[in-house]
Symmetry: C2
Subunit: 384 residues, 2 copies
C-alpha cells in the first residue's frame, strides 16, 4: 500500500519551497526561470558538449583542464555552447569565463575544491574502469583531523587514509608504512582525496595486489598561509615562498609526523616513510625529503615548482651519500608542462652531485590527469 | 639567508601559468581580465555587501539564506551590488541569479556542497564565538567510509564523528552512545559536517561539559537515489518518496547500524542510540525512530517534511506505550517555515495517541541557521 495522494497544498510544493528557499527563491514564479540545460553532455563517441545560458554576455570561453581556453558560440536563445573532439577517458575540471569573469556551470553541482580557482568536474567513462574510479573492492577510510599548529599559529586540518582492513588494535603486530602526500598551490588539504582520488587509487591498487597496504597522510601545505590569500601575489613574493617552505617542513617534521605516529599503528622506521607531492607540494617534497634522508627513504616529486635554480643553496648537504639512504627518488613532469625545464635542471644538478634520480617524463601539462597517474605509478613502487 | 631573487622567466610566472592553467588561461593576457571584486564584504556594523561583475545581465538577484530574493543594482562598470542591513552573527549560504540562471560568486571559493543547489558560504562574526565556530578546544575526528549497499544497490558513503579522546582500544571499557544524524533533501552525506558543522558543535559542547561524548553517524539519506536526480521532480512522486523512506530505513537498520557496531566502540543498548534529522531527514527520523522504539530511545526531528498527514498509516503501532520507551521525542520547526503546519499537526496527532512529544517552535525559516541551533539544543540533552 502506498501513501495516499496528497494535494499540492501540503506536499511537496511547500516542502520544496522551504527546503530550497535560498536557491529556488523564484520557485513560485516559474515563468521567470529558464529551463535547466544539460551540461556537460558526454556523447557516445566521448566528445562533450558544454552549455551556458548567458544571453547578455559578449564573450564566453570554456576553460577545460589540460586544454587552451576556447570560445563558445551563442544561439538565438542566448545559450552558449561548445563541443569538444572525443576526449580520453578521465576526470576533467572545467569552468567558464563570461566577459572575463570566472563562472561555474549552474547545471553541474560536482565541484573540485580550490582556494583560488574552484571548478566543476565531470567524467568521461572508458570501456574499463580507470584506477581512480569507484570499484566494487574493499575500501579504506579517510579520517579528517583538526588541530592547532603551534608552528604556523592557526587551527588547521589533515586527512589520513587507512587501507582496507587497517588494524588499529594496539595488540596487533602490523605496523603500516606511511606516505606523506602534499597538494599544490591553491589546493587545500582535501585536494588529494576530493580531486586526486588517492583513496580510490590505493583501494584499487591494493585490491589488485599492485600496492602495499599503507597509510596516506594528506596535510595542509601552507607553512605561511598568507601565500594563498585572495590572489596569487603571495606566490610571487620570494621571502614569503621561502618562509612557506621552511614552516611547512618544520610543521611536518615536528608536529604532523609525531601526531600520526601516536594516533595510528605506523612504523617509525625511515624505510617505511615516503613523501610525495605535486607542483608546490613537489617542491616541498624535494626540499623536505632530500634534506632529511634520515626521515624519508622514498621521494616522489610530481611537476614540482616553487624552488629556485640555486640548487646548491637549497640542498646544501645533498651528494652521493643519499644514494644508500634513498630507496627511490622519482622526479616526474609532463612534457608539455612549463615546469619541465626546472625539473630537467634539477635532475641534471643531482647527476652532477652523483645522486641517482629516476627521471620520468609523461605526456600532459600541469593537470590532475597527470598527477593521478603519477600517484598510481609511484605508490605501486613503495615499501618493497 | 633568503633564496636568491629569480627572474620572471623562471618563477613564479611559469609556475602560476602552469598551476592554474585551466582557470587562469587568460593569465598571460591580463588586460582582458577584470580585477577581482571583494564579495562578500562584511562591514563593522555586520551589514554585508555582495558584488558581481555582469555587465550584460538584465537582472541580478541575491538569494541569501533565510531571506527573500532581492534585486541588485548595476553601476556604470557593470558591477551589480547589494548591501544588507546588519545581520545576526552566523554562517550564511547565498548565491546570485543572473537573468534567472543561478550563479555562484566568483570572488568567494567557500562553498556548501549540495546535489541540486550548491551555494557560497560566508560568516558574520559576533563578539563571542558561536557554537559552530572553530575554537581552541580538543577536536574530534571525522571518518569517511565507503561501502556497497546491497539494499540500495550502489556504492555510497557515510561519515562518523568520534569525540575528542575517543578510545578505539578493544580493551577499553568505554562504550560510546551514538547519534544517527540525517541530512535534508538535496544534501549529500557531507551536509551535516560541511554545512551543519556537527563536529564543531559537539567539540565545543563537550569542551564546555554541556554534551556527553558521543559518536555521530552521518549517512546518505537516499534510499531511492532517483529522488534526487537532476531536478526536484523526484520529490513530487509519491511512490518514489515512499520507496525512499522505506529503503533508507531498511539500509539504516540492517546495514549501517551493524557496520558501526562492528567498526566502533559503541554501546548496543537502545538507550544509547539516538536518531535526528532535518527536513527530509526529519521525516526519515520520525518514520524510522517512532516505528522502531526497540532501536532508538532518543528522537529529534528538525523542520520535518516529506510525510503525508495520514499519520495512522505511517505510524500504525504508535501509541502511549512508546512513552516508557522513549527518553526524548523532540519535534522542532521554525515559526516562519511553511512546514510548521505539518509539524503542528503531527504533534497534535501524537497527543491524540497519548504520546508525549516536546514541541519546539523557534524563530526562523527552513535554514541551516535553525538546524545548527537545533542540533546544539538537542545533542546537549542526549544520553543523560
Amino acid at each position: 500500500m502506498l501513501a495516499r495522494v496528497v494535494t499540492s497544498k501540503h506536499l511537496p510544493h511547500c516542502l520544496l519551497s522551504g527546503a530550497l528557499l535560498a536557491g529556488f527563491a523564484a520557485f513560485g514564479q516559474q515563468q521567470a526561470v529558464p529551463a535547466p540545460l544539460v551540461s556537460p553532455e558526454v556523447h557516445p563517441d566521448r566528445s562533450v558538449t558544454f552549455r551556458l545560458r548567458a544571453p547578455g554576455a559578449q564573450e564566453v570561453k570554456l576553460n577545460l583542464e589540460g586544454s587552451q581556453a576556447v570560445d563558445m558560440k551563442k544561439d538565438d536563445q542566448g545559450v552558449w555552447s561548445f563541443t569538444t573532439p572525443p576526449l580520453e577517458p578521465d576526470l576533467y575540471g572545467y569552468g567558464f569565463s563570461e566577459d572575463g569573469v570566472p563562472r561555474l556551470d549552474p547545471n553541474n553541482s560536482n565541484f573540485k575544491p580550490n582556494l583560488l580557482n574552484p571548478q566543476n568536474v565531470f567524467q568521461v567513462a572508458g570501456s574499463s574502469a580507470l584506477p581512480w574510479e569507484v570499484q566494487d573492492v574493499p575500501h579504506g577510510v579517510i579520517h579528517h583531523h583538526f588541530y592547532h599548529s603551534e608552528i604556523v599559529g592557526d587551527q588547521r586540518d589533515y586527512y589520513v587514509y587507512t587501507p582496507p582492513g587497517y588494524d588499529a588494535n594496539p595488540g596487533s603486530r602490523t605496523l603500516y608504512p606511511t606516505l606523506y602526500l602534499l597538494h599544490g598551490y591553491s589546493d587545500d588539504a582535501s585536494g588529494w582525496s576530493a580531486v586526486g582520488k588517492a583513496h580510490l587509487i590505493l583501494d584499487n591498487l591494493i585490491a589488485q595486489g599492485k600496492a602495499k597496504p599503507m597509510l596516506i597522510v594528506m596535510t595542509l601545505g601552507y607553512g605561511a598561509p598568507a601565500i594563498v590569500a585572495r590572489n596569487t601575489a603571495g606566490f610571487r613574493d620570494n621571502d614569503l615562498r621561502q618562509r612557506n617552505l621552511d614552516k611547512f617542513r618544520e610543521s611536518l617534521l615536528s608536529e604532523i609526523i609525531p601526531m600520526i605516529q601516536s594516533q595510528y599503528r605506523v612504523s617509525k622506521q625511515r624505510v617505511d616513510r615516503a613523501i610525495a607531492g605535486l607542483s608546490m607540494g613537489g617542491a616541498e617534497t624535494l626540499y623536505t625529503g632530500l634534506n632529511h634522508p634520515e626521515t624519508f627513504a622514498w621521494i616522489g616529486a610530481f611537476s614540482s615548482g616553487g624552488l629556485t635554480e640555486d640548487f646548491a643553496k637549497q640542498f646544501p648537504a645533498v651528494d652521493s651519500r643519499v644514494n644508500s639512504q634513498l630507496k627511490l627518488l622519482w622526479i616526474a613532469c609532463g612534457k608539455d608542462d612549463r615546469l619541465i625545464d626546472w625539473n630537467r635542471h634539477m635532475i641534471g644538478w643531482l647527476k652532477t652531485q652523483g645522486v641517482n634520480a629516476v627521471p620520468v617524463e609523461t605526456p600532459g601539462t600541469h593537470t590532475w590527469m597527470v598527477w593521478r597517474r603519477n600517484l598510481a605509478d609511484f605508490s605501486a613502487q613503495l615499501f618493497r
